[in-house]
């Protein structure tokens, strides 16, 4: 995983609540067995006017001019500003991969769905939760300001707006640590292999039916 520390970037707005992962990456793209290449199909049904399929060249597809991510002022945005309960629905990590592949590194919303929120941290994306009023304020500042840029400082846990306003944000210290250092958390868990084996011995004692001598049923 890439390390994450600071980002200063144009902000793209997606002014809707309850954006689900089916909308972020429609299911036909889940037939890929790869972890990359989803960026062109991010928000596929909103971004394009035709129906997308896996593996197609998206450069020639008709785009929906109304959709914010298609507007020139939001190209190369690494920060997405959106509304409550972003990422609800399916657990598909493909949604996070698509956002990452399309260049997004920070998401700002009043709330995120639990599974999506956890997936972000596994993939080097920082989801920032801010109060609904604060998010509202950012939407209002952004709309009339082409090139509206935010600076994100993860070590200091703060956002700086173009006017110099500083907005603090909260983050789980463990997740912050993993993001800052780009840590492979599987390796971290495997450091506790002895504790896992000891735990298994206790469980085997208490719930022996979970540790059959040979595989049953299979």
């Amino acid at each position: 995983m890439q390390k994450f520390t600071h980002i200063a970037s144009v902000v793209a707005p997606l002014d809707r609540a309850n954006v689900d992962t089916d909308a972020i990456i429609p299911k036909q793209f889940m037939k890929s067995i790869e972890r990359t290449g989803f960026g062109a199909n991010l928000f596929d049904e909103w971004r394009y006017l035709d129906q997308g399929e896996l593996g197609q060249d998206c450069s020639q597809r008709p785009r929906n001019p109304e959709f914010p991510l298609n507007q020139p002022r939001y190209q190369r945005a690494q920060i997405l500003l959106t509304r409550a309960n972003f990422g609800c629905g399916s657990s598909r990590e493909h949604a996070v991969w698509a956002l990452y592949d399309a260049g997004f590194r920070v998401l700002i919303a009043p709330s995120f769905a639990d599974i999506f929120h956890a997936n972000c941290f596994k993939c080097g994306i920082l989801p920032i939760v801010l109060a609904p009023d604060t998010v509202d304020g950012l939407f209002q500042e952004l709309a009339p300001t082409p090139g509206y840029t935010l600076e994100i400082d993860l070590p200091a846990q703060r956002i700086v707006t173009p006017k110099g306003t500083v907005i603090a944000f909260q983050i789980d210290p463990f997740r912050k640590h993993c993001l800052l250092n780009g840590l492979d958390d599987i390796a971290l868990t495997l450091n506790d292999a002895d504790a896992i084996h000891a735990y298994e011995a206790r469980r085997r004692e208490r719930e022996p039916w979970l540790f059959p001598a040979r595989r049953t049923g299979g």
């Binding site: 299911k27 049904e45 896996l54 509304r83 599987i186 039916w209 059959p212």
Partner: protein, 473 residues
């Protein structure tokens, strides 16, 4: 010891180690794997030269992309969609290489992971169960701590049998009273989601309790827990009782005779202690629940069959009002339209929400009670897709398939099918479907398709009428 909730008991019994900052390393007992969210996880193991920690805890099958016609299932090479064919073949390759048990497409036990887990006794009380699928909450019906994860966590559990997790808050949804005849667990959970909202359970593990829950069959409890995630809660739970124990007797992956009594004795402790503290309690009167129909593009956009499509102009919150307007435009509906007047193009009975034997019995019963029942001529397709090969075989042994076929339904082979539209079973743009599935999101059942979530009985009644109809009348 102070009174503990069922959730607290399950959580605490799986903590391998407390990590810094309130994170726990949680042990995972059962891992269900399918084709669409696992290839990248196995690839990750391969590139890091890691093994599967306990392959015998993993059970795999293909469900999301599998075809549901017999012709396409005669051999892996007969799958028409090349992408699905590759993904399903990759699952078999991965399971072979890493020593994981797989129910292949030709295995009569194949089916939707959330149907086959309990059916096989691979889901047991007191377990932690994960899968790379949000509807893993289903397994909470057995007092198992079950939740969906992303592919990175699928890989994490394959490699370590553990997940670092922050503890959610326990929440109680207390449902007392009796559901009226014709009103099902599906209607109840839709009513609950309608009240809590689609993010109402975020950060929480919901335990469903009360006399209405005790009265539900295990199938009904699975339907309820299945859709906890549609209220934002990763975890749904129901305490162990006699229904739970009776269901699990003699299941192939369950405890053998030598462990049965010990297992049952332990399982009986898996209830919330009297007075256990929940961070939030919400109460419902089951008697007030009516057959429910979603009208919009989120499961919280739901009303009863007696109601009308709501008017965004009456909604004070501007973000919600604009969401309602967008949903109505997408669904092609006008405010004030009676739900019973909404005409349908397709009907889908199946999914991990409502693809079990009880669901098929209820739907077939609606057809049997309607003399000369035929799918309305305006309905282009009515599909019944059993949740597993064993559900299909059971239904056929009971003659249910003939009831569906005689009425003009198609009787298919098991899989996720039109719930997720990853195979050929999907809606065409603009088509409107009465569906027993779990999500009415934009494009969920097919690009530009329009989904109305209902119970199996309501779907069967709608198929005959061509529009929604109150199953109670």
């Amino acid at each position: 010891m102070s009174a503990r909730t069922l959730f607290d008991k399950l959580w605490e019994s799986h903590v391998v180690k407390e990590l810094p900052d309130g994170v726990s390393l949680l042990y995972i007992d059962r891992h269900l794997v399918y084709e669409a969210t696992s290839p990248q996880a196995f690839a990750g193991l391969r590139s890091a030269r890691r093994k599967v920690w306990r392959p015998e805890t993993v059970l795999a099958t293909a469900d999301h992309t599998v075809p549901t016609t017999t012709a396409e299932r005669s051999a892996p090479v007969s799958i028409a969609d090349p992408l699905a064919r590759i993904q399903i073949a990759q699952l078999s390759r991965n399971c072979g290489e890493f020593g994981v048990t797989e129910f292949s497409l030709s295995d009569p036990r194949q089916g939707i992971i959330h149907v086959i887990g309990p059916e096989q006794g691979a889901t047991l009380p007191g377990m932690t169960v994960i899968a790379g699928d949000s509807h893993t909450s289903t397994h909470g019906a057995f007092a198992a701590l079950a939740f969906g994860v992303g592919t990175s966590d699928v890989e994490h559990v394959l490699a370590t049998q553990c997940l670092p997790m922050r503890k959610p808050q326990p929440m109680l949804v207390q449902v007392d009273g009796a559901l009226a005849p014709g009103v099902s667990a599906k209607d109840l959970i839709l009513a609950i989601i309608g009240k809590l909202g689609t993010a109402g359970g975020t950060g929480h593990a919901i335990e469903f309790a009360g006399s209405a829950i005790s009265a539900l069959s295990m199938e009904g409890r699975m339907t309820l827990c299945n859709m906890a995630i549609e209220a934002g809660a990763r975890v749904g739970l129901v305490a162990v009782d006699e229904h739970t124990i009776a269901y699990l007797k003699d299941r192939p992956f369950g405890p053998g005779p030598e462990h049965w009594d010990g297992a049952v004795a332990y399982w009986r402790t898996l209830t919330s202690d009297p007075g256990a503290p929940f961070s939030r309690v919400v109460r419902f009167d089951a008697a007030q629940v009516r057959p429910m129909v979603t009208w919009g593009t989120s499961p919280e956009m739901v009303v009863s069959i007696e109601d009308q499509v709501p008017d965004p102009a009456q909604e004070p919150d501007p973000v919600r009002a604009s969401g309602m307007e967008r949903a109505l435009a997408y669904m092609g509906l006008q405010p004030g339209t009676r739900i019973a007047d909404i005409a349908l193009d397709k009907v889908f009975i199946g999914s991990c929400t409502n693809g079990r034997i009880e669901d098929l019995r209820v739907a077939a019963d609606v057809l049997r009670r309607t003399p000369g029942a035929r799918v309305a001529p305006t309905i282009r397709q009515a599909l019944v897709v059993p949740g597993s090969g064993l559900v299909k075989a059971q239904a056929e042994a009971e003659g249910l398939h003939q009831v569906f076929l005689d009425a003009g339904f198609e009787w298919r082979a098991p899989g996720c099918s039109m719930c997720v539209g990853m195979n050929a079973d999907r809606l065409a743009p603009g088509e409107r479907c009465a569906s027993t599935s779990n999500r009415n999101f934009e494009g969920r059942q097919g690009a530009q398709g329009r989904t109305h979530l209902v119970s199996p009985a309501m779907a069967a009644a709608a198929a005959i009428a061509g529009h929604f109809r109150d199953i109670r009348s």
